[in-house]
Amino acid sequence: MSAVLQDRVELPEDHRALRFLTAGSVDDGKSTLIGRLLFDSRAILADQLDMLERKSDGQALDLSLLTDGLEAEREQGITIDVAYRYFATPRRKFIIADAPGHEQYTRNMVTAAAGSDAAIVLVDITKIDWRASPVALLPQTRRHALLAHLLRVPGIVFAVNKIDALADPQPAFEAVRHALQTFAREAGITVAAIVPVSALRGDNITRPLQAPWYSGPSLLQLLESLPTTQERVDGSLLLPVQYVAREPGEQTDGTGHQPRTLWGRIAHGRVQAGDVVQLYPSGQRATVTELRRAGSTVAQAEAGQSVGLILDRQLDVSRGDWVGTPETLLPVQRFGATLAWLDAEPAVVGRKYVVRHGNRWVQARIASIGHRLDIGTLKPTDAHELSVNDIGHVVVELGQPLPLEPYVNNRVAGSLIVIDPASNRTSGALLVNVVR
């Protein structure tokens, strides 16, 4: 249901759409869960239901048919690529990045996790021997949670699914919850919540579970309350220059130069007219005389907003440069990072790649691979190369210094993509850990 249908609802302070990914393996019920969220929030319309009914042959509706969009996916009954879905409640808008859970498609889960505010990890309770001691989780549950954790997804939620399949779900849920908590503690994962659900029957999805043994929120209530990722607006300014435009019109500054506008989305901090800024790499300083936003002049702008800066003097500046508070841009040429490898061709130490940081492309090479992380256990193992779907800790050397920051401090300044210049494929994702 859209926000617009409701008269008055109390809105959370945090107005932004929540982006979350769903991770689950074949048969965990991921597609059914998404279908259920869309269905119960009325984001599915009659003709789509008709299609479902036609295909369900009189059985219960197969909600997973709503989400698998490619022919190959329907043929094989698996999700191959990330799909994006939209729904809304009166309190919030949601964007789902529906990621395949199969190991072979880990790279798509990495794609979905980058930029997500939360991750729902599906746990199929019917596949766990909950009477065992200790209770063993499935490898995919560990893998999905560890991946979300490694990619710094802030809110990790375990949805313990298929409680409808158990006559008495309480002891099983308690045992699985305990096992999840133990695992999270050992791995250093902060868990936002562990919720029991039945995606098939709709239990505890939009309405709280009517059961004496569970008093927590429904999955949807939980999603409505999770915070979105907001970059800090206080402290120093950082802005990657995206596009340099000549001001429309004929006015010149008397030297024959047309005034130029430096466009970019603020990574952190804020800016207003009169601020002194410094450019990287030139080191030159200038004063901001005017700010523009979406066709109009504005007084100030802050992190997350695109802004056009007009400076008081002509400077040598182009796309890929950085604008910041003077003396705060500290470029480095070597850094430690988490590397998620996405390419079928393995990552090779010493080979030249191209990386993109902000709006700048520079040459780079992997100086060393510290270790590969066993994605089942998070244990470091020695490695000389990283293969597709591997994640490891590496040291990277850059052809030019860049103003990096740790990813946990700022997503824009702390993330890079690696491109294979021979194929132009996006081969890896780097999250900056240590800036040396």
């Binding site: 789509q48 690529d81 019109g249 979406a294």
Partner: protein, 319 residues
């Protein structure tokens, strides 16, 4: 008695902020296109989604003087593929808007492709929708465009839901869904080789409702056939098919007058209106909130053939 509709009543703070956020993202993508490519073009058909993208482009690259008036020039031409079966009122609207804005319009004509022989119709009144791909790719080749900005949305259709914001096309213009480049954060990989190109979709994350809310909020002009008007139609397979020279009555059918509006506007041979009394964008917002049939489901004959018709067309290079 219902209170009259007003933008304030229909657009509480949540939706306002959400539209601001969608606008911010779209403008960011448009600037990324211009900064990353040498010869981009914006697909403009006069349809509502392309009207939204056009307004976003004005906001990204021009200075607003007042209301619907902006100063400056877009850093790319507009491109339209005319099937020769477009609604005449939409073509008239397209030309009027382009003239008002002082922009350059490039038109690729499907008729030219038919004359050249690169398109062969199996019968004269065959839907030309799928054949647009040929004319589109020919226009890309002729003008050496390296990125086309389109108004496709992920909520439209299942194959579109898998689409990247910056989507690579090989030298045959083909989309290869299994070979898509991972798209991480906003670090778009826009590198191409000669002969390849990109499609960029600034309103990927918008829904049909977002589009109508934005059209209403920004007071964006649209072709009149988006609003309720009388039209001769015939009921066929649950759809209201407009009676035109290219979609004539079939034997035994009876035309009827209905008050209708179009939810999407495409080739005349495959676009159907819905019954409606909505006379402006706000009315349509109200209707969209209670609608029970999806946009393409209600209006497009071409998507009904099979579950994968859009995917197959996209693989060949469709919009």
């Amino acid at each position: 008695m219902n209170a009259p509709l007003s933008i304030e009543r229909l657009l509480p703070a949540l939706d306002h902020k959400h539209l601001d956020w969608l606008e911010e993202e779209a403008i960011f993508i448009l600037r990324e296109v211009v900064a990353s490519f040498e010869r981009p073009a914006l697909l403009f058909s006069g349809g509502k989604d392309s009207c939204v993208v056009l307004r976003l482009a004005e906001k990204a690259f021009k200075n607003r003087i007042s209301g619907n008036h902006f100063k400056g020039k877009l850093p790319f031409p507009l491109l339209h593929v005319d099937t020769g079966h477009n609604f005449p009122e939409v073509i008239a609207f397209r030309d009027r808007r382009v003239a008002e804005m002082g922009e350059r319009l490039v038109v690729g004509h499907l008729e030219d492709s038919i004359r050249r022989g690169s398109v062969r119709l199996s019968h004269p009144l065959e839907s030309r929708n799928g054949h647009q791909t040929v004319a589109l790719l020919e226009a890309i080749e002729e003008h050496r465009f390296d990125c086309l900005i389109g108004g496709a949305r992920r909520d439209e259709e299942k194959a579109r839901a898998k689409e990247r914001i910056f989507s690579h096309r090989d030298s045959f213009g083909q989309w290869q869904p299994k070979e898509q480049r991972p798209e991480l954060w906003t670090l778009f990989n826009t590198r191409i080789r000669p002969g390849e190109h990109f499609r960029a979709f600034p309103i990927s994350n918008w829904t049909e409702l977002d589009v109508w809310l934005y059209l209403a909020r920004e007071n964006i002009p649209l072709p009149e056939l988006y609003y309720a008007h009388p039209r001769q139609v015939v009921r066929r397979k649950g759809l209201l098919v407009p009676v035109t020279e290219v979609t004539p009555l079939q034997p035994g059918e009876q035309a009827e007058a209905a008050t209708v509006r179009f939810r999407t506007v495409g080739d005349m041979t495959c676009t159907c209106p819905v019954e409606s009394s909505a006379v402006n964008a706000l009315d349509i917002v109200a209707e969209t909130l209670t609608v029970t049939v999806s946009e393409r489901g209600a209006t497009r004959m071409d998507d009904r053939t099979s579950d994968a018709s859009m995917e197959r067309r996209k693989k060949e290079g469709y919009f």
